[in-house]
């Protein structure tokens, strides 16, 4: 029971790191980006390939995955995404689905369609039992890293100058621009940072979630659930939504394996019918 809760929390934290970038960019630019998983996949493949082919240690790979995905995000934001911010949602959906298709085939072409296996370092393998609670070391590691990231993110958003600029831009772009905030730079750096976090999440999650070229399609729905349920105006919303989703998914698969992912989807639809704009909507922001 406790073990399931623990695994669910680890899974949820991982989903949070993967999806938080999406939540911020979606709230900021009102852009429906279905291709967020592609950045996560990029991070995952960077890690796996570096470890397999060049024997780079795991801990060095993680920042590299972050940087690689962030760089990719920055380049794509500047070249492809920016012209689309003002387009209708349908165009954005089509565009990002197109990107997903391209990334899936490209990875398939260069790396192959087999599932990648990640060799964890020795100190992350193994398990500790405390009473009825069994903790996998790697999952513990994931929780610690993600919790640290959450604290840092919350600090950046709430306390730094960049955070206040970001919040101002989310609330009202035009006024923010009028106050002398360079909204384009805020957008670019946020997009890059969000993609980088997705890459880091993909690297951390390669062992837990599995990594193959269809990764962006398989987990797209999960990221979107986190964002749609959690709302896009804060990071506590997506965090709670991700934890809820992670626990519900792990518990659902454990107790009622026959129903599989059914529980998660049903839960999402019920929540969205009850609160169409997500569970945690901050009052006062733009609609």
């Amino acid at each position: 029971m406790l073990t399931i809760l623990f695994d669910g929390i680890a899974y949820g934290m991982l989903l949070f790191v993967l999806a938080v970038g999406l939540a911020v960019t979606m709230g900021l630019m009102n852009f429906i980006n279905l291709a967020h998983g592609a950045f996560a996949m990029a991070g995952g493949y960077i890690t796996v390939l570096l470890m397999q082919r060049l024997d780079v240690p795991f801990l060095v790979c993680l920042p590299l995955a972050f940087l690689g995905a962030a760089l990719l995000g920055a380049v794509l934001e500047r070249t492809l995404y920016r012209p689309l911010y003002r387009k209708p949602h349908l165009d954005q959906v089509l565009f990002s689905i197109g990107l997903v298709f391209m990334s899936v085939s490209a990875v398939d072409y260069y790396v192959g369609s087999t599932q990648q296996i990640m060799q964890l370092p020795q100190w992350l393998k193994g398990r500790t039992e405390i009473g009825s609670l069994g903790m996998g070391h790697y999952r513990l590691f994931i929780i610690l890293v993600c919790a640290a990231l959450t604290v840092v993110l919350q600090y950046i958003l709430a306390k730094t100058r960049f955070g206040s600029r970001l919040r101002a831009s989310v609330d009202d772009q035009r006024v923010a621009a009028g106050m002398g905030i360079n909204v384009n730079v805020v957008f670019l750096s946020t997009f890059a940072f969000g993609s980088g976090l997705a890459g880091l999440g993909g690297a951390l999650g390669a062992e837990v979630l599995g990594l193959d070229p269809t990764f962006p399609l398989k987990f797209m729905i999960y990221f979107l659930i986190v964002v749609a349920v959690g709302g896009t105006s804060s990071i506590t919303g997506p965090l709670l939504a991700a934890l809820l989703l992670g626990i519900a998914d792990v518990a659902g698969k454990y107790y009622i394996p026959k129903m599989g992912a059914f529980i998660v989807y049903a839960l999402m639809i019920v929540i969205l019918l009850w609160k169409p704009n997500g569970l945690f909507v901050r009052q006062g922001g733009k609609a």
Binding site: H89, Q92, F101, I225, L272, L273
Partner: protein, 322 residues
């Protein structure tokens, strides 16, 4: 209304001279090119499905990523009906449409509120739930194997569904024509006009007294029924049904077709289906494994350049922000 104004309004609605020719050409294809009959059948089914999506996407402005839910539901309903009740294709078709319409009616209440993102998620979630159910309820649906080897009675008691696909292609083409005419009446009626008003500005539509929710429920149900008919045509003409009919790819492909052909235009879905099938055929001959890449690239370019300019390459680099 003055006479010239009436004439102008009617001109937009009347059938153009090329439309009967187009349909004649479509109906002649299976005779002129017998080897292509199965492809004509497949294209007609896709076109019918795209038509149903265009009805909600182009005319009511509902962005749905889960329209395959209704296609697949109709397909499974037709298959189960054929296996357990009666092999008659006509009744099967009606049953499948009825089942999809009921599902569409129930699902329509989930798309009334919220933003585009909420709707996207709810439609996608509904399709995924159905896919999951069809996968897990294997005593009913055959799970990953689907339902195979159905025997379907001849159409009108005379025309067998044979291996050459001729009856199948005529069956699907007739359905397509029938529903095309029905949707044509719908979108040009006052009912259709109120739908377009809702799509363009929901608040104003509400202000001038359009019952927004009732209209959306109605059109979603109709669209679901037509998608169900397309699904039933798939099952009846191929004699099997599989999980693929409910998949995300099917929803995404249909949306792609509508976008290629043109949103909010009834021929859009049909032309899009023809073009899409042609592209896919060519690409999968060149690169069987990686054709998705080119479809993706096509989508990206399509959106970045804009559909109006796509077929005029010389305008691509001129004043992109105009």
């Amino acid at each position: 209304m003055t006479a010239p104004a009436q004439a102008t309004l009617l001109r937009a609605v009347r059938m153009k001279w090329w439309e009967p020719l187009l349909w004649l050409a479509a109906f002649a294809t299976p005779v002129l090119f017998p080897a292509q009959a199965p492809i004509v059948n497949e294209t007609a089914i896709w076109a019918l499905f795209a038509l149903s999506l265009d009805l909600i996407l182009g005319y009511a402005g509902i962005v749905s990523l889960g329209h395959a839910a209704f296609f697949g539901f109709g397909a499974y309903a037709a298959a189960l009906f054929a296996r357990h009740v009666s092999p008659d294709p006509h009744v099967g078709l009606l049953v499948a449409m009825g089942a999809s319409a009921v599902l569409g009616f129930a699902a329509s209440f989930s798309i009334l509120r919220g933003s585009d993102l909420t709707r996207l998620m709810v439609t996608l979630g509904a399709a995924l739930i159905l896919l999951e159910l069809a996968n897990k309820l294997d005593w009913l649906t055959g799970g990953t194997d689907g339902i195979q080897g159905l025997t379907i009675a001849p159409v009108l008691g005379r025309f067998e569904f044979g291996f050459d696909g001729r009856t199948a292609s005529y069956f699907s083409l007739t359905l397509l024509l029938l529903f095309f005419l029905v949707t044509r009446v719908i979108v040009h009626s006052p009912f259709g006009a109120t739908l377009k008003a809702i799509r363009d500005n929901r608040l104003r539509a509400m202000a001038i007294g359009v019952p927004v929710h009732a209209r959306l429920v109605a059109i979603y149900t109709i669209s679901a029924a037509i998608a169900g008919a397309a699904g039933a045509a798939f099952t009846l003409t191929s004699g099997y049904v599989s999980l693929e009919t409910l998949s995300f790819d099917r929803s995404a492909d249909a949306m792609l077709m509508v976008v290629i052909g043109g949103i909010g235009w009834l021929y859009g879905g049909i032309i899009g289906a023809v073009v899409f099938m042609a592209i896919r055929d060519v690409l999968s001959n060149i690169t069987p494994q990686y054709w998705m890449f080119w479809i993706g690239l096509f989508l990206v370019v399509l959106v970045l350049v804009g559909r109006e300019r796509l077929f005029k390459p010389w305008t691509w680099f001129r004043g992109a922000r105009a």
